[in-house]
Structure formats: structure tokens, C-alpha cells
């Protein structure tokens, strides 16, 4: 929707005026609204998740740490609630980890993975399954099986370190 006044900018302020029993509706851009002396509630009301997010981030002494790939500082992230690139997640790992937990209630991805990393996810799942089986075999005192499982898990974990 375009501003009724200048017909150039998108209309941001919508209001109704009642004059002599006649209701008229106006749609103005911020600039024209200010020119007409209409009080604009806030410059831009963006009370969205990102604002709440900023309140949730850690206020630590790391405000000056900077992402080596895109140059984003931790302070910039805290102010805007947006990360600059994939590498930011590495750079600010220690701060992001608790943040993700607070937002999502978890900080471990479960679910789809790109084609390129599917092997690794299968391995991770296999390790988890084996660990479950390991604890069961310890409970049932099948130590021979437990030893086998332990060795297999060790081997897979070593491979996994190489992959990641």
C-alpha cells in the first residue's frame, strides 16, 4: 500500500479520523505523517523475537571478540540479534550454546541433515544405539558382550573425530 499523500513511499501509518460524523481513513508513510503532525507511536515498532533475544544473550566481557570471517563483533550480535555468517557460530560458540538452550530448550540438532553429512549422522545414531545396548548388557551382567560393545563404540568414536 502506498502513502496517500506522496504516493511514493509505502504507507506505514494507518488511522481513522471522525469529523462531522464522517469517518475517513488515511494511510501515510512515516515522513508524510510527521509532516502532517500526526504522532508516530515509535520510529519503528519491532518488538519481535530479536528484541527479546538480545535480552537473553550473555553480557560477558567478550563484547569485543570479533568473527574472523565476517568481522561481526559480539556486541553487534547482542544489539541486533542476528549473526553475520556460519563462522560466527564457531566464534561465539561459548555464548551461543546457552542461548540456543534458552530459546529452544535444547542445543543438539535432531532431524534432517544435508546429503554431504548423512554418513556422520548415521554414525552418531549408531553410537547412541550401541551405548544403550552397552548399559543393558552391563545390567544383565553380560560382560563379554559389554566388552565387545565398548570396543566397537571406541572405534566408531575415533572415526567420528576424524570425520568432524
Amino acid at each position: 500500500m502506498l502513502c496517500d499523500n506522496c504516493k511514493k513511499e509505502p504507507a506505514r501509518i494507518h488511522y481513522k479520523e471522525i469529523k462531522d460524523n464522517q469517518v475517513s481513513e488515511f494511510h501515510l508513510c512515516e515522513k508524510c505523517a510527521i509532516e502532517k503532525g500526526i504522532q508516530v507511536p515509535h520510529k519503528k515498532q519491532t518488538f519481535s523475537i530479536s528484541n527479546i533475544l538480545t535480552g537473553m544473550t550473555e553480557e560477558t566481557g567478550s563484547d569485543l571478540s570479533t568473527c574472523s570471517a565476517c568481522g561481526l563483533t559480539y556486541k553487534e550480535f547482542r544489539d541486533a540479534g542476528r549473526l553475520g555468517c556460519a563462522n560466527c557460530y564457531e566464534t561465539f560458540k561459548e555464548q551461543i550454546k546457552p542461548l540456543l538452550r534458552r530459546i529452544h530448550g535444547s542445543n543438539v540438532h535432531i532431524g534432517k541433515s544435508p546429503r554431504s553429512s548423512q554418513g556422520i549422522f548415521e554414525k552418531r545414531r549408531e553410537i547412541e544405539d550401541l551405548k544403550m545396548e552397552l548399559s543393558r548388557s552391563i545390567e544383565s551382567e553380560d560382560f563379554e558382550r559389554a566388552a565387545e560393545l565398548r570396543d566397537r563404540i571406541k572405534e566408531l568414536e575415533k572415526q567420528q573425530e576424524g570425520d568432524e
Binding site: M1, L2, D4, K7, P10, S24, E25, F26, H27, T46, S48, I49, S50, L53, A69, C70, L72, G81, R82, L83, G84, C85, A86, Y89, I96, L99, L100, I103, H104, G105, S106, N107, V108, H109, I110, G111, K112, S113, P114, R115, S116, S117, I120, F121, R124, E164
Partner: protein
């Protein structure tokens, strides 16, 4: 299909198909994805943004599910066209406001679309009519697989798909349904229900998504978290909560019928009368009138208009839709007149179809 053609037709995802279509207008799943090796869109330099656009475009052109899709550069579109796409639920308001190196791809009868270089490099979206959120997931997932074969996504083994905003990191999934809940509003129970929904870890938004307000008793219910839960679990828990909410709505409707039948009937038929005879009407008013008639339809008080007819009134009444249909810019007052003509015409056609009126 270009924008002029779209303007003459109703979005195919408003066809009234799918379960609970009289109360669930639409189901939608979107995926947030970023390309590895590029800064996120807001941080990218103009040439990096252009390159991300080129890479994304190539990948989308290679996707089978988007074979017949239209690619539109935002910089080629005027303000009215962009607003039209917002009303069509194909782009966000944010995407409409920025244009350099940004684009939208619209395919599969508008049921599958991609915003390029919005907050994330790629925002894939699938919309279906009615209660079909699992189907929407299936389709958007297939497109995601096709793109995955051609580009490398920004992904971490620990945290999943990395997004500009940490709220989307993980699966990148936002699944939502647009649900009509008039009886819960009339009986004053809606706040309690909305509170319950948020305690279940879901969010409620307005008609145009995040940051928009609720109009015509239409609520958009969606997941709020994206990490630590699989895509299927996200979709299934949304299905479960929406079914529960529909159940509450059904009970509230029974109460209305039992205790206030004549008031409801009066409200429904007055709304019907205004839609049928109005000469000037605002969009907000159409939203609330169609809500009353939709309730009347569900309660079997009205049978001369279909769900599709009501959906089409709601969408055709939007400001940019009217202006695109009539091919010219119009001020609010002229729009109100043209909107009234449009609404009356849709209703007359519906009545002719059902042999009533």
C-alpha cells in the same frame, strides 16, 4: 504465471480442499537455509549478495519441483506488485521493502515458493489448503533435497542448519496453520486457549504472519522452537495442538447454539446482508463480516455461499489485489467502493451457483 494473471485468480491453496477446510484456511511449512561460504544476507557486501542470488537461482532452476516456476527479481517489481505478493502470502513485508539482489520464485500454482536473500539466503515455503501441514512438509522437504544436491548449505553437526537468527537454527522449520476461531472469541475463552497454546511451546500470530495483527478471528498457530526436535515431531505436535483447539472451538460453537442461537443467527444474517448490499466497505470490515458468515456456514445457518467463496472475498478485498485487478492505483475511498462491488459480485456468483439468493 505473471502478477497480472495472478491478480485475476484466487490462490489455488484457497480451494477449500483438505480436512477441516471450513475452519483451517491453510497450512504452511517454511524452511530457512543458508549457503555455505557466504555471509548471511544482512551482512553480505552487494557483490556477495549478487553472487548468492546467482548460485541460488541456478540451484532452483535445476530443481524438478520448480520446473514451471516464475523467477521475479524484486528490483523489477513496482511497489504495488510487491505489496500484492505480500498479500498473496508469497513474500514477507521485509522482503518487499528491500530490493537489491533479492528475488522470489513462485511455482506449483503458488503452492511452492522461495524467497532469495531475505533474512536467510533461501526461504522455502509450501502452502496447502486446509489441514494439510504434513503434506506441506513433504513437498517442501522434496524441494530442499533437490537444492541440497546442487549447493552446500551452512550446517553444523551440533546445531543443524545455521540461520541468521538463532531462533531458526536447527531444522529451520516453521510450520503453521491459519485457523478460524470465532466461537472461542465470542464466548471469551480465546485468551485462555491462546495462553494454553503458548504453554505448549507454540506461538500465535496474525493474518500476515510475524508482527501482524489478528483480523476476522483468523489466528496463525505455529511452532516456536526449531532445535532439538525433528521436523516430523514439529509437524505432528502442531497437528495435535490445532486439533485440540478445533475441538474447543467446536464445543464453544455448541454452547453458542444452545444459549444464543437467535443472537448468532442475527449476527450472521446481518453480516450476510451487508456483504450482499454494501456500496462502500473497508478490508477490515470484510474480514469481520466474512468471519460471521463463515461461522454461519459451519453452523448450517447459511448454505448459499461456499468456503471458497468466502476465502476469495477475503483475498480479493485486499488493497493491492483490488488495484492490480483494476489495473490502476486507487485511494482508500475509491478502493472501498470497488471492494464493495467485488464482494457483491462474488456473493451473487455464489448464490447463482447454489440456486439461492
Amino acid at each position: 504465471m505473471n502478477i497480472a494473471d495472478m491478480a485475476m485468480s484466487t490462490s489455488p491453496w484457497l480451494c477449500g480442499e483438505g480436512d477441516y477446510a471450513e475452519s483451517v484456511i491453510s497450512s504452511r511449512v517454511r524452511l530457512a537455509r543458508n549457503l555455505a561460504g557466504f555471509p548471511f544476507a544482512h551482512r553480505a557486501k552487494p557483490e556477495e549478495l549478487r553472487e548468492a542470488l546467482t548460485v541460488s537461482r541456478q540451484a532452483l532452476e535445476g530443481a524438478n519441483t520448480l520446473k514451471t516456476a516464475d523467477f521475479m527479481l524484486m528490483s523489477d517489481l513496482g511497489d504495488l506488485d510487491r505489496q500484492f505478493l505480500v498479500e498473496r502470502h508469497l513474500i514477507s513485508q521485509e522482503h518487499a521493502e528491500k530490493s537489491a539482489a533479492r528475488a522470489v520464485v513462485v511455482g506449483d500454482n503458488e503452492m511452492l515458493s522461495v524467497m532469495i536473500n531475505e533474512e536467510d539466503h533461501l526461504r522455502l515455503q509450501s502452502i496447502r489448503s486446509g489441514f494439510q501441514v504434513m503434506e506441506a512438509w513433504r513437498i517442501v522437504n522434496r524441494l530442499d533435497d533437490e537444492i541440497d544436491k546442487q549447493v552446500e548449505y551452512a550446517f553444523s553437526y551440533e546445531w543443524g542448519y545455521l540461520s541468521a537468527c538463532p531462533t531458526n537454527t536447527g531444522t529451520g522449520v516453521r510450520a503453521s496453520m491459519l485457523v478460524h476461531l470465532p466461537a472461542l472469541v465470542h464466548t471469551g475463552q480465546i485468551d485462555k486457549v491462546l495462553h494454553g497454546i503458548s504453554q505448549m511451546g507454540l506461538a500465535v500470530r496474525g493474518f500476515y504472519g510475524e508482527g501482524s495483527e489478528v483480523m476476522g478471528n483468523l489466528f496463525q498457530i505455529s511452532n516456536r522452537t526449531a532445535l532439538g526436535t525433528s521436523e516430523i515431531d514439529i509437524v505432528q505436535s502442531l497437528e495435535k495442538v490445532v486439533k485440540q483447539v478445533l475441538d474447543y472451538e467446536g464445543k464453544a460453537r455448541e454452547i453458542l447454539l444452545r444459549d444464543a442461537r437467535s443472537q448468532i443467527e442475527d449476527k450472521v444474517w446481518r453480516a450476510y446482508g451487508i456483504l450482499k448490499y454494501c456500496r462502500k466497505v473497508a478490508h477490515r470490515e470484510v474480514m469481520s463480516l466474512t468471519s460471521a458468515v463463515r461461522l454461519g456456514l459451519c453452523l448450517k445457518m447459511v448454505d448459499s455461499i461456499s468456503v471458497v467463496g468466502l476465502n476469495s472475498m477475503v483475498f480479493k478485498s485486499q488493497p493491492a489485489h483490488l488495484q492490480k485487478r483494476f489495473g490502476r492505483q486507487m485511494g482508500p475511498s475509491e478502493r472501498d467502493v470497488v471492494r464493495a462491488d467485488t464482494v457483491r459480485k462474488v456473493l451473487a456468483e455464489e448464490e447463482a451457483k447454489t440456486g439461492t439468493g
